[in-house]
């Protein structure tokens, strides 16, 4: 069978359709069905991952078919392909996404309101996420990308906390703002790129990555002599616009303010999906699309991109230090940790980009764990204020054990997954100065200060909330409510903790899949980028 990726995408859609047909009173069926479907997806993704490892280079599981073929009269024909494939960059993220969705499905037991709508949207979201990581046709990517927005909007807006409407609209508008401009660039690229086989315009991303496929006088062509906007090449603006779209998703400073609000309002499983998967689409998009299609702009702006990464790391860490709400603290720590991803990508070294991918997957697992742990507490006493708790280790020792694992993994204790990602993004950022001179060494050093502050806020929180003599805001009533973990909670937390340890001790599990792809990617981005930059500088004289 060669269309596993389609199965991965359409399995949840089929399940969603079946759920829609079920009557509302069959409310105890929805969650098991969703769990089974996402477990199946995880198993398929794991199978694909092991298959990929047998020959870890190039694109695998390619599916390609005509999808939309419209005659537009004077504009020519509109060709959109159904083009799916995965490589070392996406296969790990695909597996992570399937797994996080599985965990989120289990963690959805707290959802009581309108389960039919919830699980239908959940499955729709799952399909869209799978699609985003598999699509290699820009239009198809865009469709999946926008398709994620809708269920996410409702999941936050309908099942969220008291201020959910504000948060969900903020999330929606932020992302839409990015994607509208992405649409413009996408259309611009379509009219610039020619399929070398058929001679027609194409949305194929792989063709967009090759300078030879651009028609000579098009806006985004490298060989254009007049494609300037405010005295800078149009291609640079294309890059910036796409970068902003994905930077909102990651999110980086200063486009991050939707994230804390969304997290604070979202129910636990939605927070898990948001931090575990959706943020990674930003990092993935930057590597695959921004850097892939506009390598020269990536090189040209790498200093600024690296700087954004460093500022995100420090800024996120500082605000996490000052946060008084546990969930908000973890949301800001996410911003800090995703800053390492940006920094690693900007270094354009194999160590840095491999580290960035590792960091994304590790953060996916860890943020899932962290948000779930917050949910466990919130479910018991409906409070998340750090100051409301003290000495939680006493009534909830097992819970504290998992918190310690998650916190120490997040602050980069070796032997756990967070360390490898951070260490290699830093090694890459440091190496950049002597390999390609894109980032100054100071960036790596500043970023490492973020690790120090990371230790400070996690340990401070441990000290304030979990250790010391027990004292709770809700006094005796809370003592009764604060029971240790239930069976379901163990079921969620144990695999997550094991994966964190496994990845920390055997990082080859991920590096073996990504290394070849990333080595080639770094090489090509660098070669193409420099060649494009030279030709554009001589033709456009900017």
């Amino acid at each position: 069978m060669n269309n596993w990726l389609s199965v991965l995408i359409f399995l949840p859609i089929a399940a969603a359709l079946i759920l829609l047909l079920l009557p509302k009173r069959a409310s105890n069926v929805f969650r098991p069905v969703t769990i089974v479907i996402s477990l199946l997806q995880t198993l398929i993704a794991a199978y694909l991952y092991t298959q990929y490892l047998k020959n870890p280079q190039g694109y695998h599981f390619v599916e390609r078919a005509d999808w939309i073929n419209l005659n537009l009269g004077t504009f020519g024909r509109l060709n959109i392909d159904y083009f799916l494939a995965v490589d070392g960059l996406s296969i790990g993220l695909l597996l992570l996404s399937a797994f996080v969705m599985f965990i989120a499905a289990i963690a959805s037991n707290e959802i009581k309101k309108d389960p039919k709508a919830y699980y239908t949207l959940f499955l729709l979201l799952s399909a869209a996420i799978m699609g985003v990581f598999c699509a290699l046709d820009f239009f198809l990517f865009y469709v999946f990308y926008e398709l994620m927005l809708l269920p996410m909007y409702f999941l936050i807006g309908m099942w969220g906390g008291p201020n959910r409407e504000y948060a969900s609209i903020k999330f929606f508008l932020y992302t839409l703002f990015g994607s509208i401009f992405m649409l413009l660039v996408m259309i611009g690229l379509y009219f610039s790129v020619i399929d070398p086989v058929t001679g027609e315009h194409t949305f194929n991303m792989l063709y967009m990555m090759d300078a030879a496929n651009y028609t000579k006088d098009s806006y985004f062509s490298i060989f254009s002599t007049d494609a300037l906007l405010f005295n800078y090449p149009v291609r640079f603006f294309g890059f910036i616009v796409l970068f902003i779209a994905f930077a909102i998703k990651i999110p980086t400073i200063p486009l991050h303010t939707w994230l804390p609000d969304a997290h604070v309002e979202a129910p636990t499983p939605v927070s898990i999906i948001l931090a575990g998967v959706l943020l990674k689409i930003g990092g993935y998009g930057i590597i695959r699309i921004c850097y892939g299609i506009f390598p020269e702009a990536a090189i040209y702006f790498s200093y600024w991109i690296g700087l954004i990464g460093v500022i995100s790391i420090l800024y996120g860490a500082f605000i996490a230090l000052a946060s008084t709400d546990l969930k908000r603290m973890i949301a800001y720590s996410s911003i800090s940790h995703m800053g390492f991803v940006i920094l690693g990508i900007a270094s354009l070294t194999s160590e840095g980009v491999n580290g960035a991918i590792f960091q994304m997957i590790s953060h996916g697992v860890l943020s899932t764990m962290l948000f779930y742990l917050v949910g466990v507490l919130y479910l018991r006493v409906q409070d998340r204020e750090i100051a409301a708790f003290r000495g939680l280790a006493q009534p909830m020792p097992r819970y504290t054990l998992f918190v310690v694992i998650a916190f120490f993994a997040s602050l980069g204790l070796p032997g756990l997954s967070g360390f490898i990602g951070e260490a290699f993004t830093l090694i890459g950022a440091f190496k950049s100065a002597s390999v390609n001179a894109l980032l100054p060494r100071g960036f790596a050093i500043l970023a490492s200060v973020g690790i120090l502050i990371g230790a400070a806020y996690f340990l401070w929180t441990l000290q304030r909330m979990f250790f010391g003599a027990p004292r709770f805001k809700g006094a005796q009533e809370w003592h009764l409510k604060l029971k240790d973990l239930t069976a379901t909670e163990y079921l969620v937390l144990i695999p997550l903790a094991l994966i964190t340890i496994l990845l920390g001790i055997f990082p080859a599990i991920l590096f073996d899949a990504s290394n070849n792809t990333i080595n080639a990617w770094v090489h090509e981005t660098w070669i193409h980028g420099i060649a494009n930059l030279k030709s554009m500088q001589s033709l456009l004289k900017f």
Partner: protein, 635 residues
């Protein structure tokens, strides 16, 4: 180095015989104890069994591999074109340090059976100790800086867990947080060194770097930077000035933990690391190390003589003694730095464990209340006396060799320069602070006898460690080093020199005996107050770093909420205002215009309608008037 044998192994199975027993067995017990609650007896005996088995395998499997030393290399993962490998070096140094660690761990575990008896979470305590043991084991064997870094942080984590073992005790949970964060600063130094060296050599195997340096110039700027970065790591881990502040606080942990981690093993990791990689250090870095070492030694001994808390005195003593080892490295006397590391481990562990007995039996840590020990805990008192003699460096102890040799080589190299005068000064201070404790212990107790515990678990470890502090553990002769079970460089000490040092130390002891002010250390004295508070370095850091960082964080939080998010909300509000305005404009202007036109049409209609009377006479009149006007215009 070149005659070493290197094995490229496909899996650790090839060194499995000793790693399985030595490394994995304690790890297994750690996992078991962390998740399940066993009875105290099972936990205690299985922990002892694990360490004993490991100890046995050390002698049985590892000892034969030591000569010639060998490398075991296992591919771990690869990234870009570089391979990261698990590299183990098995040699004399590693064997000596490992056997010290095994002995001290074993004794501390036995002692903990007495000290931690009936403690809640008894099994967790042993789990953490075993975890620490495993991490320390790995740290000693590793010959790859990436791997070393991993264990370097893991021992720090074990230390965090054990300092804060009594997790409802506020001072303990503040101390372990502080220890971890300050060690993090050192870790960043280590990480920086890793970045620099990896960037330079594309490998982190210490042996490979060594080989590469044999054929390449040694004055690379990268090596300068890396050596300074490593020294920062060493300063934090080995509690040297200015990052020493965590160690006195770490004494909040259980006393056996202080003996094991914060005296004998973990804190010497910095010394051990330098023994492994100081070969590439340029003279400037060694000089920097010398400054750090001498400042730490003098400062810590000064702090030690004014303390009243027995554990704090010993903690400062550890800082000072590690400074002494680093001093030895900085003057190129690596073998005796290693030797002092070993002798110090035994006598300091003995000092801490005996202190543990006094604390446990008297329920206080204040030396002024620990009187009467000579009578009430005679075994512990004798053990303490032997260990104290070793700390001072009196003959018949093992530390006599290590201490005199380092002092002798220092003075032989540089004569009586400022460094060496300070060095001798700290030797004097050392005998003063330890004599203070001793005289209090020796003094008679006023109050009635408290019933004293007697158990093997209490006495066996302190006796064994006190014995290990004696010359016979290392040398056949008490007066000159005649090593019989390991090899060190040869260092001869002049007898006259030795007598001089002994006299200096005895002078210190006598000063305590005959000058009551030293014994008392009244806090009303400004200098005593200043030193007792650690020269206010802690408070200085609080104002210089901790407060500003919290303020920056609070400021950024405010900025984020009001400015960054304010702009976003501002844009949103602006859009709403525009929308409202458009709405008003649409309602009033656009629609107004439409209505106006309609109104105009209506008014026009109204006016015209006046003419539409339906009466023929009016129409006829109007027609006549129109014709008259037309005619009038024509003419």
């Amino acid at each position: 180095m070149n005659q070493a044998i290197t094995y490229q192994v496909d899996s650790l199975l090839q060194v499995l015989d000793f790693s399985a027993i030595g490394f994995l067995l304690p790890l297994l017990f750690f996992i078991l104890f962390s998740f399940y609650r066993f009875s105290e007896r099972i936990v205690f005996w299985s922990a002892i069994a694990a360490i004993l088995a490991s100890y046995g395998s050390l002698f049985y499997f590892l000892k034969p591999l030591v000569n010639p030393h060998q490398y075991y290399i296992l591919d771990w993962f690869s990234i870009a074109q570089s391979k990261f490998q698990i590299t183990l070096l098995i040699d004399d140094t590693c064997f000596l340090v490992l056997s010290m660690i095994h002995l001290v761990t074993l004794m501390v575990i036995i002692f903990s059976g007495y000290y931690m008896k009936a403690e809640l979470r008894f099994e967790k305590y042993f789990a953490y100790i075993l975890f620490f043991f495993t991490a320390m084991f790995g740290l000693v064997l590793s010959n790859n800086l990436f791997l070393t870094y991993i264990f370097w942080e893991l021992v720090g984590f074990a230390s965090y867990a054990l300092i804060g073992f009594w997790r409802t005790k506020d001072s303990a949970i503040l101390a372990n947080k502080k220890a971890f964060i300050i060690n993090r600063i050192g870790d960043l130094g280590f990480l920086a060194a890793i970045c620099i060296l990896f960037n330079q050599f594309q490998t982190l195997n210490i042996h490979s770097i060594e080989v590469m340096l044999q054929t390449s110039p040694k004055d690379l700027p990268a090596l300068y930077l890396a050596s300074f970065a490593i020294i920062i790591a060493v300063i934090a881990k080995s509690a040297q000035f200015p990052l020493h502040v965590w160690l006195p606080d770490a004494m909040e942990g259980p006393t056996p933990v202080s003996a094991l981690i914060h005296a004998a093993t973990m804190v010497i990791a910095g010394v051990y690391l330098l023994l492994r990689i100081a070969f590439f250090f340029p003279p400037e870095a060694l000089l920097f190390l010398k400054y750090i070492a001498i400042i730490s030694m003098v400062m810590a001994s000064l702090f030690a003589i004014v303390q009243q808390d027995i554990k704090k005195i010993l903690a400062y003593s550890t800082i000072s003694q590690i400074g002494f080892m680093l001093f030895a490295i900085s003057i190129g006397n690596q073998p005796f730095a290693l030797f002092h590391l070993l002798t110090h481990a035994f006598f300091k562990a003995a000092l801490f464990l005996t202190a543990g007995v006094f604390i446990h039996e008297n329920k206080t840590q204040d030396i002024r209340n620990l009187t009467g020990a000579a009578k009430q805990q005679p075994i512990a008192f004798i053990a303490f006396s032997i260990a104290a003699a070793a700390l001072i460096g009196l003959p018949f102890t093992a530390a006599y060799f290590s201490k005199e040799a380092i002092l002798f080589s220092a003075i032989q190299q540089h004569g009586l320069d400022v460094f060496n005068i300070l060095l001798l000064f700290s030797v004097l201070l050392t005998s003063i602070y330890i004599a203070r404790i001793w005289f209090y212990l020796f003094a008679k107790k006023d109050s009635s006898n408290i019933p004293q515990a007697k158990s093997v678990a209490m006495n066996l470890p302190i006796v064994v460690l006190a014995m290990a502090s004696l010359f016979a553990a290392f040398s056949a002769s008490p007066f000159y080093l005649q090593a019989f079970w390991f090899t060190l460089g040869t260092e001869t000490i002049a007898p006259m020199f030795s007598i001089g040092i002994i006299l200096l130390s005895v002078a210190g002891v006598l000063a305590v005996k005959f000058i009551p002010a030293i014994l008392l250390m009244d806090e009303k004295n400004a200098i005593v107050y200043f030193l007792k508070n650690g020269a206010f370095i802690d408070r200085f850091y609080a104002y210089l770093f901790v407060k500003p960082i919290q303020q920056i964080a609070a400021l950024l939080k405010w900025l984020d909420k009001h400015i960054v998010d304010g702009i976003v909300n501002g844009i949103a509000n602006f859009a709403i205002v525009i929308a409202n305005f458009s709405d008003w404009f649409d309602r009033n202007i656009i629609d107004g215009l439409v209505n106006l036109i309609a109104l105009f049409a209506k008014r026009m209609g109204d006016i015209i309608r006046i003419t539409q009377t339906g009466r023929v006479q009016t129409y006829f009149l109007l027609a006549l008037m129109l014709m008259a006007i037309v005619v009038w215009f024509i003419y």
